[in-house]
């Protein structure tokens, strides 16, 4: 919850962007004394106007407020930048700050025209609703097809970290977008904040992979108020941020629409973490593998053949050294079948644990993903026209 640390107010209200009439606009305000901020953004070359705006806002390591809307992603929209600017300016006006201190995030359909009016009017309502217990409302207002809000908290040595996020992947009708705001009352500088956020995102959000599709809007922000008066050790603080990110990432995978299984793809005994991660990603992005898990089929051939697409220079291993364990059952050893497929049970738990041992070192990496199901196809086809 983003109002868990001291120094933050938030709200979530209905601005009228969603046909459903559900909450669609969230406002988060950092009341200080610090206004330190950090950001991590999509690396897609096609980015939404709010991403262009907010990257610029955070470039000086400062931000006073963030306004987030669901219902429209404001990407590939004619005049979309003016809408983003108007929204930021309205926030600045009601909070008596300047627009260049206001981040903007949007999620929803792509390429559908968005007018500034409901956003500007919504900002006034949201400002009036701001409260130091408004974190839950904000978390609800950024949901698209998420079935539940996603929040996390962390506390250590007198300071707190809170977070909210909306889901990654499988989100009809537009792109799969991840938005996340993390707040803290720790006393940190912008550099520490950016390092903690970047390293945490890399180990958490960048290791969940629902469908290999990168959004145009993905944004993760960290705001520090310093209101606790506590200056944490940089590494301890980064660990705290990582815990909050990991918690939110797991909630996203657990709420990915259309999925019937969460899958942890663990690649172990690798020569390097980079190599282990490349192999884990290749497996997590294999449609054949993801369909097999949906069918509760311990089809390990699809696991090793996906691994085999990773260049040897990235992840050295010998095919004859490979072992595959599915939910702890060794179905493949020394690269060949062990005859134990029938012992694998994937039906009694939503979580499926895949371990691929490369036999070439001591490093490892895990990627979380989901199975590929009928409902995924439905979410992303039948309901979109």
């Amino acid at each position: 919850m983003i109002t868990y640390p001291k120094g933050f107010r938030a709200s979530g209200i209905t601005a009228g962007l969603k046909e459903s009439g559900k909450a669609d606009l969230a406002l988060v305000v950092n009341d200080g004394p610090l206004d330190v901020a950090a950001g991590v953004f999509t690396t897609n070359r096609i980015v939404a106007w709010p991403v262009v705006w907010t990257r610029d806002v955070v470039s000086d390591g400062k931000m006073r407020a963030v306004v987030l809307n669901s219902g429209n992603a404001n990407v590939a929209t004619p005049g979309g930048m003016a809408v983003t600017e108007a929204t930021a300016e309205q926030v600045a006006k009601v909070l008596s700050i300047v627009a260049s201190e206001v981040g903007v995030c949007s999620t929803g359909v792509i390429g559908t025209k968005l007018s500034a009016e409901p956003l500007v009017a919504g900002v006034d309502v949201a400002a009036g609703a701001l409260s130091t217990s408004g974190g839950h409302d904000a978390a609800r207002a950024i949901m698209t097809t998420d079935t539940r809000p996603k929040e996390a908290t962390f506390e250590a040595g007198g300071y707190r970290i809170g977070g909210m996020a909306k889901g990654a992947g499988m989100i009809a009708p537009g792109m799969a977008t991840m938005l996340c705001v993390i707040t803290t009352d720790a006393v940190i500088d912008a550099e520490t904040a950016q390092e903690a956020l970047a390293s945490s995102s890399d180990k958490t959000f960048n290791r969940i992979d629902v469908d290999g599709c990168m959004s145009t809007n993905d944004t993760v922000l960290l705001l520090a108020s310093g209101a606790s008066g506590v200056t944490p050790d940089a590494q301890d603080f980064a660990d705290g941020v990582r815990r909050v990110c990991q918690d939110l990432a797991r909630q996203m995978i657990g709420d990915a629409e259309g999925a019937s299984h969460d899958i942890a793809v663990r690649v172990t005994n690798a020569a390097s973490e980079v190599g282990a991660l490349a192999v884990a990603r290749a497996i997590a992005q294999s449609n054949l593998f993801k369909c097999a898990i949906f069918g509760n089929d311990p089809n390990w051939g699809r696991i090793i053949s996906a691994a085999g697409t990773v260049p040897e220079s990235v992840a050295p291993f010998e095919p004859a050294d490979l072992a595959v364990l599915i939910n702890g059952i060794a179905v493949c050893e020394n690269g060949v079948d062990t005859g134990r497929r029938d012992e694998v049970d994937m039906q009694s738990d939503r979580l499926v644990d895949i371990e691929l041992r490369l036999g070439s070192g001591t490093e490892s990496a895990t990627v979380l993903t989901n199975d590929l199901t009928y409902d995924y196809v439905t979410e992303n086809s039948a309901y979109t026209t």
Copy 2:
């Protein structure tokens, strides 16, 4: 048809590897006078035993016969190399040649034990059935879940080229494997054959992408008998091989199981062909895009966002220059919506034509793919245990 050129005999028989009792073993013999051969193989690091064997056989540019089985891929099988060797040795014995002149190809399930007996006995039957009109039977015997055999022919200036293939992708219950044998009675040397086959495969088979999954068994062979006595121009010959490969590639996409649309992803106005191809592949591998086409949804946002994942160093373009045409309707121009989505008709034709104009040059590339459907999920999950 592989017996369309002079100098070839073929057969297709039932060896008993398939529970259905359908034909599952094909034999192709080059009666010369030449025994020139070329081969292109999967680049997956996990390869089937027959791939290891046949890569070695073709390394000297010569091959006298090829035996192909469906029903078992012979990959990750203990003792699988001995089975491949025994099969090749039996072919050598009945044809009075040596085993190192015999190629072996397998397709079917992965990791299921394969014994040599049915293959060895099957080779005897296949040898007795060899005929100069046996191409159709051979094409049928290599089918797995293909619904129809895939054959192509080409003739020019007194020489002929013939080909057969089995499908790519979406093939339950094992991996998606492509096998292809091309025959010619042209007089060519091994180097010309290899160049023609490699360049043709690169422009055809390597530009169809059903699900981004690379098989452990993919094999494309070219056998030249020289029986026409005609020595073609190397470029003309390569063009002929490419036409045969293109014809077979289109048949594969048209028969990909579970698909309801064939999709031609054309990336045009690119700075380089390599860049155009990278962008086309990124789009063709986007599950979100493929689901949208299944839903007959002209969701061009998913097309440009997939394009945006390709590094600028590979394919330079400005987001504001992009145009997207779906079945000829410009749904996006200058990077924004044109308001013409409703004009797009994807329901009256199985083929959907996507054109993404990068606005950065004159090069182009096309990748053929399919939509992502319920039936794809079914083929690759429910029927596999």
